[in-house]
Symmetry: C2
Subunit: 463 residues, 2 copies
């Protein structure tokens, strides 16, 4: 069918004015008078809907009058400018074809619904203003991230989802198996006989593609991953999901400084892209979801991120220990309350915290000369806390091996990883951006369940 997207009408108004066009979309509302009526139609391509005027000249006038919210229609008519009205134009309908009716029990009648209720109809909620905006912006953020890295000649790497290793041992993992759970094959000693499983050994869903990503950075210099990751954590918070997407760039011949420059440019690029390409959605969020959002994002785009070492940050935070549930002192991991205090109260902008105690960071991070801290960096942003975690990687074979032994990691599980330090090792660094956190940050939405199309959390795996 030759349909015009409503987006094109709004973006290229002049090209369509007084022309005959056909639009397909869904009824958002309808008002009837005796001899005419108005339908507000949304086709999902643009945040603003299109007003359709129809009159008794329609052959199916009475049927059209009876349309209700949610029905699908195909409208042909002329696009007429309406300089005096709120909307810039309307369609004067010659023909309204009813493509599909909407049953009277349609759950999205024209009234406000709570986000909680809308989560129970995740297949219908993208038809509401808020979720239309959230999921178009989510799509644009994803694209902006690809665009940013591809324009800089980074190679996009698909790291595996099913894995035989547990990477950094981070958090609980989901097991993947084809064995019959009613009757799991066992060895003589009662242990599970994984030789009977699909891969012939225990396998899990990945928690990070980083180690695999590093192998490609040592071939392509600059790479990024963008894919799903999983955590089987039994935590029911507004910021955790069992399945989420991560972006993990990895850069060779680069140190922590290069890593921070990359992270800052990426975040600014993505914010700019969304502000430019989804102004209607962003204004909506700013008015109805998170007042102050636009100020905050513009502030980020136009200012340098602050920088502070972990040691300095602890000194700053200790002065406010009366405000925290968990008291801060050197050596403890920063909690969300501390992170938010730093970025929201002390710096009032995004801040990089660097050089954490080695004890609270992963084995692969590069040991600093002080012998106590590692070249790690977390990027904290107002409203969220940590949005990015990264580090320069230990590139010295002996130091890495020693650290692994200290932590009881088995050398044979990391042969491929040690190889990278054996054959042409180069300083390198990388970071992980939680994609959903990024979407929350840019939209002002406060629950991760509301930025994932079909969220998976403890006890919840619907549709």
């Amino acid at each position: 069918m030759e349909l015009t997207n409503i987006r094109d009408l709004f973006r290229n108004k002049e090209a369509y004015e007084n022309k005959k066009i056909t639009v397909g979309g869904w009824v958002r509302s309808i008002r009837n008078s005796k001899a005419f009526g108005f339908i507000v139609v949304n086709d999902g391509t643009f945040f603003e809907p299109l007003q359709v005027v129809f009159s008794e000249t329609l052959s199916n006038f009475e049927e059209v009058q009876k349309l209700n919210v949610g029905a699908a229609v195909i409208v042909t008519g002329t696009l007429a400018p309406t300089p005096e009205a709120k909307q810039p134009f309307e369609i004067q309908a010659e023909k309204v074809m009813i493509e599909g009716a909407s049953a009277p029990d349609y759950p999205l009648q024209k009234k406000r619904h709570t986000f909680e209720y809308l989560r129970t109809i995740s297949h219908l909620r993208p038809r509401t203003n808020t979720f239309e905006a959230v999921f178009r912006v989510r799509s644009m953020i994803a694209y902006a991230i690809h665009k940013f890295f591809q324009e800089r000649d980074f190679v996009y790497v698909h790291t595996p989802l099913i894995t035989g290793s547990d990477c950094e041992g981070a958090g609980e993992m989901f097991q993947v198996t084809t064995m019959d759970l009613k009757d799991v094959p066992k060895n003589a000693d009662g242990s599970v006989d994984y030789s009977k499983d699909f891969f012939g050994k225990p396998t899990n869903l990945t928690v990070s593609g980083q180690l695999n990503g590093e192998t490609y950075a040592m071939a392509f210099k600059n790479i990024y991953t963008f894919g799903p990751t999983f955590r089987a954590e039994n935590s029911n918070t507004t910021r955790h999901a069992a399945e989420f997407w991560m972006i993990e760039p990895e850069i060779a011949f680069a140190d922590l400084e290069d890593d921070m420059i990359l992270a800052e440019s990426m975040l600014k690029y993505v914010i700019r892209y969304v502000l430019e390409n989804a102004p209607e959605e962003m204004n909506f969020f700013n008015s109805f979801v998170d007042k102050g959002l636009l100020d905050r994002l513009n502030n980020v785009v136009n200012n340098d991120f602050a920088r502070v070492t972990y040691t300095e940050a602890v000194e700053l935070l200790e002065k406010h220990n009366d405000k925290f549930n968990y008291k801060v002192s050197w050596g403890v991991d920063l909690q969300t309350e501390h992170e938010r205090y730093l970025t929201e109260e002390i710096f009032k902008r995004p801040v990089f915290v660097t050089d954490y105690p080695k004890e609270i960071k992963a084995f692969y991070m590069k040991l600093n000369d002080d012998g106590k801290t590692v070249a790690a960096v977390d990027c904290l942003v107002p409203g969220i806390g940590e949005i990015i975690g990264g580090s320069q990687r230990e590139d010295d074979y002996e130091k890495l091996l020693a650290r692994m032994q200290e932590l009881g990691l088995k050398e044979e599980d990391y042969g491929f990883y040690l190889d990278l330090r054996k054959y042409g090792s180069a300083r390198h660094a990388g970071f992980g951006l939680g994609f959903e956190r990024c979407v929350m940050y840019l939209t002002g939405m406060s629950n991760i369940r509301d930025v994932i199309p079909f969220p998976r959390t403890v006890g919840n795996c619907e549709i």
Copy 2:
């Protein structure tokens, strides 16, 4: 560090000629004379390497002479044009910093290795010419796909990986669980007590995001997915992997014709993008992997795809039944040998086969007026066979329900899917593109294990 990518030197030669630059990369080969030497350096950003000339003026001349293949170096010097040589320029090194040596047992010495051997070192193989080319092109294809859809205002949807349903019941699935496999919780009757599992019910890895994707198409009109999918099939072929990526666009107010137009434009767009942006890699494939590749792809870009109904295709194929292991007759599913014969021998170009018997296609495909066939389409390409499978979806509530009942599908499992036909149903269509098949098609690589960074197949889940 202020490094220049070798890619930029080749793409913007004029900007760098006779300028001092610094490049970081890995030694591909080295030749020594008494007072000078040559190092061929690759930094992974460009298919062609860079020649570095060094001489005894280097403070570490003797050390540099001893470098071996795989070592990481950072070279500073002047880019000098070499009009008489094979390569367009070289660097005259003032300084060669040895970033990381390469142990003498480096497996990638300058000799040819078989693809089979390289699969055993999947963490190092992207450092070879072939795999550098494959994985850069893979990255570009992924980006071209995003670009194609985003330029057309399609919304990118992340459909879930962990799922409680089995979608079209296609193939064997991987189970996802956090239960202790040594001691799976059981109910009194001996069945598995899934209330103890993470999601409180049995869950699997998705085989397709289509049904979820449809819910978003009925909100955004045009959407696409691009994510991993899984099949636990015990098949050890060159075309099957347990984990692979799929692209699944879904378009509303659209029929099978629109679907084919979309598929054809997408494939042509992606081929053009790769031919333009990776000419060096594509020439390499054409010379060393698959002679005739460029002719074939140019032929695709410049010609319309052929179209034939299943019924016509069967008539054509029946005439050649003597050539097939499986004989063709109306009602049988086409095998790869038939698909390839159609596209390679009969049409000699990509071909859309449409309107298959409903018995061999999925429940959600739209029934044609003949009552026997459905509005399905497969796109077959030379060298591969099926690369795309799609259909117009059944948009009539009653017909869909009847078909589900015929096949014994439980209505309660598909409530969300039936809702789409109840509230503003619109004709819609979509297809699935196997991403790896697409990479194989564009590179000429013949084994799926060689186009996935870390392939997962039966018994194989390394790194």
